[in-house]
């Protein structure tokens, strides 16, 4: 794209208040930051196990066609000399927090979309920090100086145009779409650029001969509605004219927090499932505690070898962020399900989330004032200081007797 040109960093940002900040190859960049010897090399995070998928790929790896969500085996074929690393989410969360705190220095109106991207509303920063374009440059500079990472930023009048702009600016770029020129920016783009237009919708539109956003904009909304349905038809029509009423909503409260694992080979061994469930419950509860939430409902997900997937849930008497309670509930749900089949994936998540500070907890009879909850917090503190392996349930310790595939020592169940 014309980086210095019409939608470049110095374009007119009048009427633009929305920033979309997207970290460049975030997980891979965090890895490169702590291992400078990897700089300039293709680095792929994830996709390590036989069924793993790629979580992130450095731009050098992307040149070989590797992208995230691609099966690891395919990535290895495309780019055999890449450096494959297991994901270290603790490191990425840490880096993410640092980046998000830069955003919060600029404006309280930060809507994180994931660890590595967020919308910012900077309308209120004008007097203090300057126009949206200037704020974008400031953020990019601070991320580079303070974190040694790069981010691409899109500046526009609406969220979805800002997101499109940041995509066009990648990597390490800044694109400003002047409010008055939104349609000039939008109309040449393919229909798939519109938010909510996936492969199926794009295919439907293509059959109607609609290939660009301009084509949609100049199609009567009634035709779009009959082709896509009322809601979707009106939606793409609005977007094609650059109309996106969504505001930047800070702190969108998570609907659920959880973790899941795909086994390398399908399993039916109860002891392995139990230890896996314990690890997943631990992750789920730790994530809840990290963001200061408690969950009232525990959900398990079980995918069988034939890809049939079932979920089971239980709502607790009292919301929790305690590993032990999440695990006990998850395991009871699994036991009640008792599938006699081989399992491909299990997951644990907490739903019905609310801030821990507002929650009232119904402890069990005779629960000590210092209970599992406090033990979890102490373990969190130890992990923060000594690393994630510092405190772990005994049954999750690696086997040291060289016993191969023997299941960890659990009381018989």
């Amino acid at each position: 794209m014309d980086r210095g040109g019409r939608f470049g960093p110095d374009a007119d940002d009048t009427g633009c208040a929305v920033l979309h900040v997207d970290m460049d190859a975030f997980f891979a960049s965090v890895e490169v930051r702590r291992r400078p010897e990897l700089r300039g090399k293709p680095v792929i995070v994830g996709g390590v196990g036989p069924r793993g998928v790629v979580s992130a790929a450095s731009y050098q790896a992307r040149e070989y066609g590797v992208h995230s969500a691609m099966p690891g085996a395919r990535a290895r074929r495309l780019c055999p000399h890449a450096v494959f690393l297991p994901p270290d989410f603790a490191a990425y969360s840490e880096a993410s927090r640092a980046v998000m705190s830069i955003f919060h220095d600029v404006t309280p109106l930060v809507e994180p979309l994931s660890l590595d991207e967020a919308f910012l509303d900077v309308a209120g920063c004008r007097r203090r920090l300057g126009s949206a374009g200037q704020v974008a440059k400031l953020i990019r500079r601070r991320i580079a100086d303070e974190q040694g990472l790069t981010a691409s930023v899109g500046v526009a009048a609406t969220k979805f145009v800002a997101k499109l702009a940041s995509t066009q600016a990648k990597p390490d770029g800044l694109a400003v779409v002047p409010a008055a020129e939104t349609l000039d920016f939008l109309h040449p783009l393919p229909v798939s650029a519109l938010w909510g237009v996936g492969e199926r919708t794009a295919e439907t539109l293509r059959r109607l001969g609609l290939r660009t956003v301009a084509d949609i904009a100049h199609t009567p909304v009634t035709s779009l509605r009959s082709a896509l349905g009322n809601a979707a038809g009106s939606h793409v029509h609005e977007l094609s004219w650059g109309r996106d009423p969504r505001r930047v909503t800070p702190e969108a409260v998570d609907k659920s927090i959880g973790a899941e694992t795909t086994f390398d080979v399908d399993i039916d061994d109860s002891a392995t499932l139990r230890t896996t469930m314990l690890a997943l419950a631990g992750k789920t509860a730790a994530r809840l505690r990290r963001v200061g939430l408690v969950g009232r409902t525990v959900v398990i997900k079980v995918r069988f070898a034939d890809f049939r997937t079932v979920t089971r849930s239980r709502t607790l008497a009292s919301p929790t962020d305690v590993t032990r309670e999440v695990f006990d509930t998850a395991w009871a749900l699994y036991e009640a399900l008792r599938p006699g089949e081989r399992i491909r994936l299990i997951g644990v998540r907490a739903e019905n989330l609310l801030p821990a500070g507002q929650a009232s907890l119904q402890p069990q009879l005779g629960a000590p004032e210092q209970g599992w909850r406090e033990a979890d917090r102490a373990a969190d503190a130890a992990r923060a200081r000594f690393g994630s392996a510092a405190v772990t349930p005994a049954s999750l310790l690696p086997q040291t007797d060289g016993g191969g595939s023997a299941a960890p020592g659990e009381p018989g169940d």
Binding site: R314, A356, G357, Q362, Q364, L365, G366
Partner: protein, 376 residues
């Protein structure tokens, strides 16, 4: 098989037996009730492998016999019949029911496929049916409803000589009731974990009939134990739960730092009113002082409510929070008119009991509540 029976007697017997039938029977015959005529009596039975129930009805028998018919359908029909004598007669593989000018013909199911009801175990003693019913009601309210913890869905009956102690807990509250029973052999000691729902329904039915309830028990290996209750021509057997009930009685505090006495009726009304603003799982807060009791619910951003009431209180001022549903359950089963709440600390167990108007404590019942921690 052929007999004539009073409409009400038949309707009651069938309704009671059909109530315990499974909604989705694993085999079709289990949806049936068994009608047996012999010795001038009709026995109506139902069984789902866990619980069996049987009731005897006086009839005019013309021909002995045994049939199996859909319990739900027969219950609906007998309930709807006019108040006249009912004639029941088999016609081949069908049964004909005639009452006044109404006539029903129902298919029967093969009696041979129906499982044999468990033998009533040996009687071990008896208890006044009304006292038994009210004791069970006081305890069963605290039992768990979560099938993933089966041992908590039961009421534990502990027989120690002539004292019968009932205990139930769902981990958040605990109810303990002591009453007297008459063991056939004095000095014995045994225990049984009975499914709370079955126990509550059985005790309620037998309690309404008055008289005595005879208790029967058969110890068995894992899951084979059986308990029986009989009285007023009715008998129920239930399989016992595996008795891995937690040792909870040690949790009962042996002293208290503060005690409040509040009329049960007024307390119930105020808690109900105030908890209208308590969302699901948010607590009601009770603040006690010498001036009385203030009950509040709701958060700073949400709807709020508070109400003050008279209360006889001894101890330092104290605020404690409870799940309103648990609190109402506890107050709702007290037998005496004054609720007595013994407290130690806002984070420690509270014990609810009751006393008569002139302050005499009912020593037989304790309902232990774990307070809620606010904003942890």
């Amino acid at each position: 098989m052929k007999f004539r029976v009073e409409r009400d007697a038949l309707a009651d017997a069938v309704a009671w037996t059909a109530k315990s039938l499974p909604n989705r029977p694993p085999v079709p015959v289990l949806a049936g009730v068994l009608l047996q005529v012999g010795d001038g009596r009709l026995l109506v039975s139902g069984f789902d492998y866990e619980v069996s129930s049987q009731v005897g009805v006086d009839i005019q028998a013309d021909a002995d016999g045994m049939i199996l018919v859909s319990g739900r359908l027969l219950a609906e029909i007998t309930r709807a019949l006019p108040d006249k004598p009912v004639d029941v007669a088999t016609e081949g593989s069908r049964v004909e029911i005639t009452c006044g000018s109404a006539r029903f013909t129902l298919p029967t199911m093969p009696v041979e496929d129906y499982p044999t009801l468990p033998e009533m175990p040996d009687a071990v003693g008896s208890v006044d049916s009304a006292a038994f019913a009210s004791a069970v009601a006081q305890v069963a309210v605290a039992a768990g409803r979560d099938d993933t913890l089966p041992m908590l869905t039961g009421v534990r009956l502990e027989f120690e000589d002539s004292t019968l102690t009932m205990v139930a807990t769902d981990r958040y509250r605990l109810a303990i009731k002591e009453l007297q029973w008459r063991p056939d052999t004095p000095g014995g000691s045994t225990a049984a974990l009975v499914p709370a729902r079955t126990l509550a329904e059985t005790a309620r039915t037998l309690g309404a009939l008055g008289g005595e309830v005879t208790l029967s028990m058969a110890a068995g290996g894992m899951g084979e134990g059986l308990i029986g209750f009989s009285g007023g021509g009715r008998r129920t057997t239930s399989r016992l739960l595996n008795d891995d009930f937690p040792k909870v009685k040690s949790l009962l505090p042996d002293s208290h730092a503060a005690q409040a006495k509040v009329p049960v009726g007024a307390l119930t009304e105020v808690v109900k009113r105030v908890s209208l603003v308590a969302e699901r799982n948010t607590p009601v807060r009770l603040s006690f002082s010498e001036e009385g009791l203030i009950i509040e619910a709701g958060g700073s951003d949400d709807a709020r409510a508070s109400e003050a009431m008279d209360c006889e209180y001894s101890g330092d001022p104290l605020t404690i929070a409870f799940n309103p549903a648990f609190l109402l359950d506890a107050v709702g089963v007290l037998e005496q008119p004054v609720a007595v709440l013994s407290l130690n600390d806002p984070k420690k167990l509270a014990v609810m009991g009751s006393a008569s108007e002139d302050g005499e404590l009912d020593p037989g019942y304790q309902h232990v509540l774990m307070p809620v921690r606010v904003g942890a």
